[in-house]
């Protein structure tokens, strides 16, 4: 096989893996948007907050240590214990569910029936609040997250491909694990929404609030449920990204990658988020590989947005959205 083709295959594989993670983040947006019409600007910060909380719990950090020390003149920093990764993940999820409950109880329950732009503004406020809360609880220093996921080049793939093609593919173990977990999660969410009572209730609320109420669905319950699911998705995304590049503010920027995915896939389509994520993941890696050298590189920064723009012009409803024709 010619070298160019082999490189292209390797790039495509890596792109697919990045794409699955984009899809995961986009899914967090889609869940909340479908059920409540809220475009949740704070999705990225939720991932950061979840990762910070996870590290904090694992390391036995005292939450709000700075605040407590400043007020009481104490010198608390650590409880002096370490929590195993799995237990810490469960505890973090409890925190994310509590957050979902609080967000509904104290913000969105009071904004029912408001215009979408007002709901959107509220999520911007929430994003800054969460960012500050994360800092205050766990400190603003860069942290490393190690939940025991394998890292580094996968030797088996490297050797097998080397023997077959004379060129060893470089594929990171972490990427493989992340892809598998994200794919399972996405599949699980799809099955949940398709075949369970709560999943059906979730789709019902997404479709028509009045009708949902009339069959006995509590909107508040569903909203807490979708925010919890979004929190879960954020936690998983936070773990993947955090394991790769450390837990710091830039982690919240993964949400920016989800935006073009949403424009491609449509804001309300779960399959759209998945396919959109894969297209963007593969597209940006391949484009960088094929066209990057000709234009001086760094195309990954803008490729996704340009693709999304082209889509907006020719298919504004996204890949899977139905064309909306105004009734006149």
């Amino acid at each position: 096989m010619p070298d160019q083709l082999l490189f292209a295959i390797e790039v495509t594989l890596n792109g697919l893996m990045a794409g699955v993670l984009y899809a995961l983040v986009a899914l967090g947006f889609v869940l909340i948007f479908k059920a409540s019409g809220i475009f949740n600007y704070s999705q990225g910060v939720m991932a950061l907050f979840a990762a910070l909380t996870l590290v904090g719990i694992m390391e036995g950090q005292v939450p709000f240590a700075h605040l407590i020390n400043a007020v009481f003149g104490t010198e608390l920093h650590h409880f002096g214990w370490h929590v195993p990764a799995l237990a810490a993940i469960v505890l973090t999820m409890v925190v994310m569910i509590a957050l979902a409950w609080a967000v509904n109880r104290f913000i969105f329950r009071h904004l029912v029936g408001q215009a979408p732009i007002i709901l959107f503004m509220a999520t911007i406020g929430l994003a800054y609040f969460l960012e500050g809360l994360g800092d205050l609880m766990w400190g603003s220093d860069i942290k490393t997250l190690d939940v025991g996921l394998p890292q580094g080049i996968n030797l088996w793939i490297d050797e097998t491909t080397y023997e077959a093609f004379g060129y060893g593919f470089f594929i990171d173990n972490l990427d493989i694990v992340a892809t598998i977990i994200a794919a399972l999660l996405v599949a699980g969410l799809v099955l949940f929404s398709q075949y369970t009572k709560q999943g059906r209730a979730l789709r019902a609320v997404a479709d028509d609030h009045q009708a949902a109420l009339s069959v006995g669905i509590s909107l508040n319950f569903i909203w807490v449920l979708v925010w919890s699911l979004a929190g879960f998705v954020a936690l998983v995304a936070g773990i993947m990204w955090g394991a790769k590049s450390g837990v710091q503010f830039s982690l919240s920027l993964i949400a920016l990658k989800a935006l073009p995915v949403l424009m491609l896939g449509g804001f309300t389509s779960i399959p759209g988020a998945i396919v959109g994520g894969l297209i963007i993941g593969v597209g940006e890696k391949l484009f960088e590989f094929l066209v990057g050298p000709l234009v001086g590189g760094a195309t990954e920064n803008w490729f996704a947005y340009v693709l999304a723009l082209i889509f907006l012009v020719f298919r504004p409803q996204g890949l899977f959205g139905e064309k909306i024709i105004e009734r006149v």
């Binding site: 709560q198 059906r200 789709r203 019902a204 479709d207 009339s214 069959v215 006995g216 669905i217």
Partner: protein, 272 residues
């Protein structure tokens, strides 16, 4: 003959029981508009109760009060002998009151089958975690409720469109699917807001037959709003007549038809 608490038998042989739902001195205002003004009436177990009146009379508002969508400023609601506190619509649904809407409220993106399945939500008891993990009881429950839903789909003769997304159906069939979803809840009280509006004669006949069959076979108590006087007279045991938010008549179809206030309202005699 209808104001005692005891049960009796109608001319066509159905048994009408005691009071199921009682509205006492209900008043509902929207800003300056008084949609319902001091109205009292009851609905008895097993009967078909019609609410009629000209456009804007407050009929839908009354149905919305019964189903908990609107909160009256004054008055009391009793269901199965108990006074209702401040409830949300979904809690009313869980008490056994199902409804349809004047402007059809279906889940357009879901199939007919899924729409009707949502009607079973109040009957499905397994919690979130078991549902999420598709644990034994959750699965059995799904199968059991699915069977019930299939019976209702057969009953309303919509087998052919089971897997069709509701958004693609014509108006008349949507109305029927909405009825199916309400029936799936096996309600104690079924509220129908203009179930035949916008239908052709044939569709109206079908719908009338279904309403009678539901009442007859399942013994479901039904309160319905309808404009077509012929239909109302054929279907209902008792009729409440509203005009400008007030109750102007209440009784059997024959009594109501003979009521001078009702005749005036329908002939458009000037209000003073």
């Amino acid at each position: 003959m209808l104001d005692g608490g005891e049960s009796f038998t109608t001319p066509d042989g159905r048994t009408i029981g005691g009071v199921l739902m009682e509205m006492k001195h209900i008043t509902l205002r929207f800003g300056g508009v008084t949609a319902i003004s001091d109205i009292s009436f009851d609905i008895r177990e097993g009967e078909i109760r019609a609410i009629i009146g000209p456009n804007g009379a407050g009929k839908s508002s009354m149905l919305n009060v019964i189903s908990g969508f609107y909160k009256p400023q004054e008055g009391e609601v009793f269901f199965r002998g108990e006074k209702r506190g401040p409830v949300k619509p979904y809690q009313v649904a869980r008490e056994g009151i199902a409804r349809t809407f004047q402007n059809i409220a279906l889940f357009e993106g879901m199939t007919v089958l899924d729409n009707v399945m949502t009607g079973r939500i109040t009957h499905m008891r397994t919690g979130l975690w078991r549902q999420a993990l598709w644990w034994g009881p959750a699965q059995a429950e799904e199968v059991e409720n699915r069977a019930q839903v299939e019976r209702i789909i057969d009953f309303l003769e919509i087998q052919a469109i089971r897997k069709t997304p509701v958004g693609r159906l014509p108006y008349g069939l949507k109305k029927r699917v909405e009825l199916a979803r309400a029936l799936a809840a096996e309600p104690k009280l079924l509220l129908l807001d203009e179930p035949m509006a916008g239908m052709n004669v044939e569709e109206k006949e079908d719908m009338s037959r279904f309403i009678l069959d539901v009442n007859d076979e399942f013994g479901t108590t039904i309160a319905l709003i309808e404009h077509d006087m012929g239909v109302v007279m054929d279907l209902s045991d008792r009729v409440v007549v509203m005009d400008y938010g007030k109750k102007i008549g209440d009784g059997t179809p024959d009594e109501v038809r003979a009521n001078q206030d009702v005749i005036d309202a329908y002939l458009g005699v000037a209000h003073d």
